[in-house]
Symmetry: C2
Subunit: 538 residues, 2 copies
Amino acid sequence: MLGLMMDRALSLPSILEYAAAYHPHREVVSRSVEGPIFRYTYVDALARAKQMAKALIDLGVKPGDRVATLAWSTHRHFELYYAVSGVGAVLHTINPRLHPDQIAWVANHAEDTVLFFDLTFGDLVAEIAPQMKTVKTLVSLTDREHRPAAAPAGTLVYEELIEAQTPDFVWPEVDERQASGLCYTSGTTGNPKGVLYSHRATVLHAMAMVQPDCFDLGARDAVLPCAQMYHANAWCTPYGAPMVGAKLILPGRQLDGPSICELAQAEGASFVLGVPTIWIGVLDHLDKTGGQLHVRTVAIGGSAPTASLIDRVEAQMGATVRQIWGMTETSPMGVINTPLPEHAGEDPAQSTARKMKQGRGLWGVDLRIIGEEGQRLPHDGASAGQLQVRGPWVSSAYFKNDGAAAFSDDGWFDTGDIATLDAEGYLRLTDRAKDVIKSGGEWISTLDLEDAVCSHPAVAMAAAIGVPHPKWDERPLLLVVLRPGQSAEPEVLKAHVAERVAKWWTPDEVRIVEALPIGPTGKVLKRELRDQLATQPA
Amino acid sequence: MLGLMMDRALSLPSILEYAAAYHPHREVVSRSVEGPIFRYTYVDALARAKQMAKALIDLGVKPGDRVATLAWSTHRHFELYYAVSGVGAVLHTINPRLHPDQIAWVANHAEDTVLFFDLTFGDLVAEIAPQMKTVKTLVSLTDREHRPAAAPAGTLVYEELIEAQTPDFVWPEVDERQASGLCYTSGTTGNPKGVLYSHRATVLHAMAMVQPDCFDLGARDAVLPCAQMYHANAWCTPYGAPMVGAKLILPGRQLDGPSICELAQAEGASFVLGVPTIWIGVLDHLDKTGGQLHVRTVAIGGSAPTASLIDRVEAQMGATVRQIWGMTETSPMGVINTPLPEHAGEDPAQSTARKMKQGRGLWGVDLRIIGEEGQRLPHDGASAGQLQVRGPWVSSAYFKNDGAAAFSDDGWFDTGDIATLDAEGYLRLTDRAKDVIKSGGEWISTLDLEDAVCSHPAVAMAAAIGVPHPKWDERPLLLVVLRPGQSAEPEVLKAHVAERVAKWWTPDEVRIVEALPIGPTGKVLKRELRDQLATQPA
């Protein structure tokens, strides 16, 4: 027997419609690529999204078509989030940090028909246009005045498309399971794989995200995502903020410390998010200028923050840090480190140990860890295994069924992470499966080694990798980049690590290097390090 | 093109599974009908819900069957919420305040097969058992020792059913649109009508309810619903609290001021909810005893609180009041009065005026007001019309298609309320459609008249009704009950009202009465008043 409740689809346009109807004066503020700060309301944004929806239909975009962007976090990108999904098409947010060949590859793989690109990418688009087999229409995300000279002939101008339309548009009804977005994971091995979001998954994710124990967002907030809108939809804040009538602050292309500090202060940001390097940049800027920035919450994810970064953010920004773990495949919210009431009395050491964990599950995301024989491991905080997840905002497959091995027969997604879960439900990553060091038949956590050395004040960043060893199969090598102006002897750092990890985990060598290779999502490319070392004598 | 995200059903058992896995130590505390306080964890509750699920299957309960309760807010009722819906059956929570004939009528209309009842209702069940045509199994919600003598022969004992089972049970997969609960609205006209909830609607409602601008619930909270579990599922808190790992405090049958104060204090309640009369009882108790009770938030709904009640709650309980409006048909969340950041600077008079509004819409619930010619009225705070709502947790029809006139052809539910909406999205009820006073072709708001007279310190409660008038069709009559020990002349009260409403709204007569007739959900039965007055000379 079915219930008798309205069968209303969970659709993305309903979010912007809500914000315009119930929070008509709330602003969306965007640092434009042209330069100035742009500012309007959700009412204006909805009107322009509807104008763009009509323009897309006039351009021949059909339901299911993929429409690509090469774009920073701006109000125009925000409009496309709703306009493209709203007409039943699929917004493919391409990461412009990919190699040009890879950009063309993903555009071809996705069979994109239209490409919207920011001013910054005029040259890039001119270079790769011949390689893109399916893109029929290019649109420059600017006005006539700023149209980039480098763009290929026939490139349309976004503001002209908008101006040609009136905002009298009614969103078509969608099946909530319809695809709404496409985002490729820039895997460090193999070709990128496409995550195909649905309206339903994204709405449910936004609903879960705003709850008090997750991002804790309401109409009182001003949300500044310092993750680009091509990174897992800026962690879905362009959906979560309007859903609750929060102000949305889009930082354009500038994620450097000075730009973020200026924008956050000027616009009264209460909630900010981003990868650890963003906050290092912000804190270094504050140190240098003696400036101050206060926000309520700093969400940190993408890679694990060090204890010293968490401490600095909390001390210097008067903020609470909420570490999150997630992936493009989890929309991205997997777990979040929000304290429980039980933690009110924890001492500083306990507090630091807890904050270093990635977080706890929210309703909706199930987690399990699987041992080497495929058995389910206990949630004892010690047993490390492959982390698998499932839930209504987790991928069930990659686009065109690539990488099918990541999806188990019984309905779980294998994250490629090695992790522990403890009795309180806290997830702690110990490694990426492909980066794990296996020494004497046991795993050594590269993340623990990196955390240990990063707690030394002279260390800026570190990467532990396994190097072949005749007796133990592999032994850890720890590569360290020092902070500017700091010095430390490798043996001192080794001793520092030895005090903090199991004896047999202590790396055989700590090596100080100038820099580490960083990939397009800001993570250290360990495979590249291993390849380099394999061809160089130690 | 469909998205590639996991097709996980939004199911009610997943909520309790989550709470047990991620908040294993969090408590459910219940004032038992036998007397003592009962206390256990979500882990225990899940185990017992699974035992009860197996017992239901052994009793022959099949998916789609209706299983009824005549029960207060206790841990056993909580277990049935999950056990019954979890096996695919439908939990029919009967309001025991209905007349016995009506209880038998709804049990027959629902075709209930099993009836679980609290100790309190042994005599009642014995009386109506012969009238209930479909109920095959009676279960007393207690243990062997407390089994009520009055219960019919063959009545089973809840704790014996639990003890006979082990908790090794896996919830069957459900279609999320499957019916999960049935709750009859005790309309003041005609037979009660059944609202048939689904897993999906209830999960979505719980997700919306916990957000910061609604009930603002997280693991830090202790939630005490002072609405019975047969009233729109205690406003869905038995789902919302475990979804976020909040402590749940169930008050049993005792909703009097002393009992609530004692329980809330002893268990550290942070969030409480209930109809206005509950808080009058609590405040009167605090006045009498000089006691103190502090909670973070008091949600008030069911009927509109007076300004003086809101002020008293905020002053004496150190709490923020969040007025809500909703109905059984809206699960029940329709709107909630959470301040916007714009309200930070409002003066006391503005603050009171805002707080007297029912609230603003959250994402998910669409609202519109319809004029007498079926036209959509502007959201100007002045135009009053029929309030219609739609959303994924709003009824699409009543059980067995009763009362079909309330559902519009274009997919909206007509609430039967007359209301205004303002430009900020605030809903303000002016009347129930059936209680409206039409005088000289214009509507007079009975709620406004009642609010006006209730702002006089001597007044406890009031009801405005229309009485026939030869020239104006109807004129308002205001019936007033004074507070114990207070006195006030009718003409003084009339003058008090006249200062606060439009001149032509001022009632022709204010009449002081001993009491007003109250229905099973705590609302004044105005139809009964009109009938009484029609047969009595003024």
